[in-house]
Symmetry: C2
């Protein structure tokens, strides 16, 4: 994520390819990060988004307010930050280069969502709820999506020999992510009932058919 700048690694002597065995410092940071997020989700579910202040979050997570801002640039980011971008990118780059781009995206989005649903369904639902209810979250989410868009555009451009800045590529991604966003919103507005993945596939079908309503 954008807020997670690459920090220096301990120059450990572990075998190459093995994940470096995080020093105490890094482990602590991770714990703090998680504590803040957890506290935030809990407080929000109890009191609502607006009523939950950074001060409360800091207190609940047992850190100072300044620390909260050190870990997350904005209040919205506490809720929205995840690590799915690199995963989606990797998956996309793993698809056969001659697969139609829309099919590649269809595939990786289904996969990412399935994984998310399997491991953190409750969080996804709360997030969706907030996306529907809180304009600030919705807005920030859109920004986040445009980071995702850049990553995906690069991957797609690479494999087709185009520039990642190619207008057509950008429009392609924007349309797909715009549709995805709308489906999620729709799902959230309708009580989160029905199968999200099926609905996404329907939306992609609409796009694939050339938007002939």
């Amino acid at each position: 994520m954008a807020t997670m700048a690459a920090t220096s690694r301990p120059p450990s002597v572990s075998a190459p390819g093995t994940p470096p065995p995080l020093g105490l410092r890094e482990r602590k940071k991770l714990r703090t990060r998680i504590a803040i997020r957890r506290a935030t989700y809990r407080l929000i579910s109890e009191q609502g988004y607006d009523a939950t202040t950074i001060e409360q979050i800091a207190e609940a997570a047992e850190v100072s307010p300044s620390t909260v801002f050190r870990y997350f640039a904005t209040k919205e980011d506490i809720v929205l930050t995840d690590e799915y971008d690199p995963i989606m990118e990797a998956e996309l780059r793993n698809r056969p280069a001659d697969e139609p781009p829309l099919e590649s995206l269809r595939f990786i989005m289904a996969k990412a969502l399935t994984a998310f649903l399997a491991s953190e369904e409750e969080e996804l639902r709360q997030r969706t709820r907030l996306m529907v209810e809180v304009p600030a979250i919705r807005a920030r989410m859109t920004e986040t999506m445009s980071d995702t868009a850049k990553v995906l555009a690069r991957a797609l451009a690479d494999r087709s020999g185009r520039s990642p800045d190619d207008l057509e590529v950008r429009v392609f991604i924007a349309a797909v992510l715009g549709a995805l966003r709308e489906v999620t919103l729709y799902w959230g507005e309708h009580g989160q009932e029905g199968d999200l993945i099926t609905m996404i596939n329907q939306a992609l079908d609409t796009l694939e058919g050339g938007l002939k309503l």
Copy 2:
């Protein structure tokens, strides 16, 4: 626009169909509104968006800060508010009902843009500049667009006998507006060179072709 709640009309006795001849009160409000916007645009072009405070805007427009907030809900809205939604809606409802929806949108967007460019080109350019440079503006713009989306969805749904909440309709509009947004961003990022309308048409061609990259 969302921020412009319908205010009471003077029950004037003018001929039906004639625009009511705004009382002094309404005229003054309009002037204030314009003064605030003008001051804002000027200050921003001189100092940049972040460096321009509401207080400065208020002073330049010769009103109090509270009045500024009475006219515009947020700082971003001062820049973004326009009155094109009802126009686009009317135009859309004027298109033949059997015209393919994508063509209708293509047509009305070209028309709206042409009008905007003809009468307020400088404003459009400044707005685009801000959209590229200021995340808050970009975010708010997206929200604004989703208001537009609702209006257009209703119009489109009406003529095809669908519900305005129909997933397919919503996806359709989201994709088109998402593409439009991306083109505008692209145009802005590339020095605002080239013909916006042509680029929009290209983007719509991409959508129409089923997003086969």
